[in-house]
């Protein structure tokens, strides 16, 4: 039906049904991630479910809604590879954050820290 329009330019022309299906999946995946909180999974199970559902949703949005699946590989790599560098930063800051917490626990009185947080909250600035 739309084949005649497709080859006139490099337009992104796909059947409406595709978008509706992806839309439906995004709804389902969001309900799943909300269920993770309702059922109140804890620990590793919670984290892995949250991250998996997040990546599935992100993948669907980028691939179909943003048409990345139909772009040239040169564009895909140029856009998707640089953000991976953030993960390197994440690893660095996990070590740094753990070290900071350790310093605070050793050199600051934890009770003081709690009291301080309580004071500010109670004062209702």
């Amino acid at each position: 039906m739309d084949q005649s329009e497709t080859h006139t330019e490099t337009h992104q022309q796909h059947p409406i049904k595709l978008y509706l299906v992806v839309w439906g999946w995004l709804f389902v995946l969001s309900i799943f991630s909300y269920m993770v909180d309702i059922i109140d999974f804890r620990g590793l199970l919670r984290w892995s479910l949250v991250v998996t559902l997040m990546m599935l949703k992100a993948g669907l949005i980028v691939a179909v809604f943003m048409h990345m699946a139909w772009e040239r590989l040169a564009l895909t790599y140029a856009m998707l590879v640089p953000p991976v560098l953030i993960l390197v930063f994440v690893v660095m800051m996990i070590f740094e954050g753990g070290y900071t917490e350790w310093m605070r626990l050793v050199f600051l009185d934890k009770a003081d820290a709690n009291a301080l947080a309580g004071d500010i909250g109670a004062a209702g600035y």
């Binding site: 909300y34 949250v50 930063f89 500010i120």
Partner: protein, 240 residues
């Protein structure tokens, strides 16, 4: 083989010296993205830079959360709503998520109708998308008001670690700003579509380039990105 013939056919270019050369070199006809127009490529490059902005926000949130010895406030309790006397965890956030996903769906429809040159449906879908976006911002304002009334501040809150407020206002505030800007641009693009700018190639504002329906797709890239960022905020800030 074909490369060699292409090189032979190329006219010999004389290189400009000085400042003119700088402009000429940067404007030279070399492109890496063979099928994507400059507009689309530039929007993608902007989105990558924006990815770093939000990435660093979430990273700093992660670092403060790891490094504080004080317990982090429980998001499903803090963002819970009392509905008919029952506390439903994260209710408002869940509704906001569905609203934004729905707006992404209508945006994809708008792009599709745009390439079919269906002016009325494209305009309608863009306006519906803008409406959902505005609804999202409205709910975010409600959320902020509620938390501020409960005593959440960038320097402290009654629920736990002090850094919670700073992270929350920074991340959701920046995201809300993106949504607001998106709504404004959706309305601008909707007006252009409705007026027929992309049918009769009316020169655009500022650039004087002829409008094409691809503008709707580029607008869509931005809008889907806003939805994409929310997916990450939802996972890391509200569910973690």
């Amino acid at each position: 083989m074909s490369e060699a013939t292409a090189n032979e056919n190329k006219p010999v270019q004389t290189l400009e010296p000085g400042l003119k050369g700088v402009v000429a070199d940067w404007a030279s006809d070399q492109r890496s993205f063979k099928t994507a127009s400059w507009g689309k490529a530039m929007m993608w490059i902007f989105l990558v830079s924006d990815t770093f902005v939000f990435g660093i926000f979430l990273l700093s949130y992660m670092t403060t959360r790891i490094s504080t010895p004080v317990a982090w406030p429980d998001p499903s309790h803090v963002f819970g709503l009392h509905v008919f006397g029952v506390e439903v965890p994260l209710l408002l956030i869940a509704i906001m998520t569905f609203v934004l996903i729905t707006s992404s769906g209508t945006m994809a429809m708008a792009v599709n109708f745009g390439y079919r040159r269906d002016k009325a449906k494209t305009t309608l879908m863009l306006l519906v998308t803008a409406l959902f976006g505005a609804t999202f911002v409205g709910m975010q304002i409600f959320e902020w008001t509620k938390l501020i009334q409960e005593g959440v501040r960038p320097w402290g809150n009654p629920f736990g670690a002090e850094q919670f407020g700073a992270s929350f206002f920074m991340i959701t505030g920046f995201h809300g700003t993106h949504v607001t800007i998106g709504v404004i641009f959706l309305l601008i693009v909707a007006r252009k579509v409705w007026r027929g700018d992309f049918d009769n190639g009316r020169p655009g504002f500022f650039t004087a380039r002829k409008g094409r329906y691809e503008v709707v797709e580029i607008m869509g890239l931005y809008w889907h990105f806003v939805d994409l960022v929310w997916v990450f905020i939802f996972a890391f800030f509200y569910l973690w």
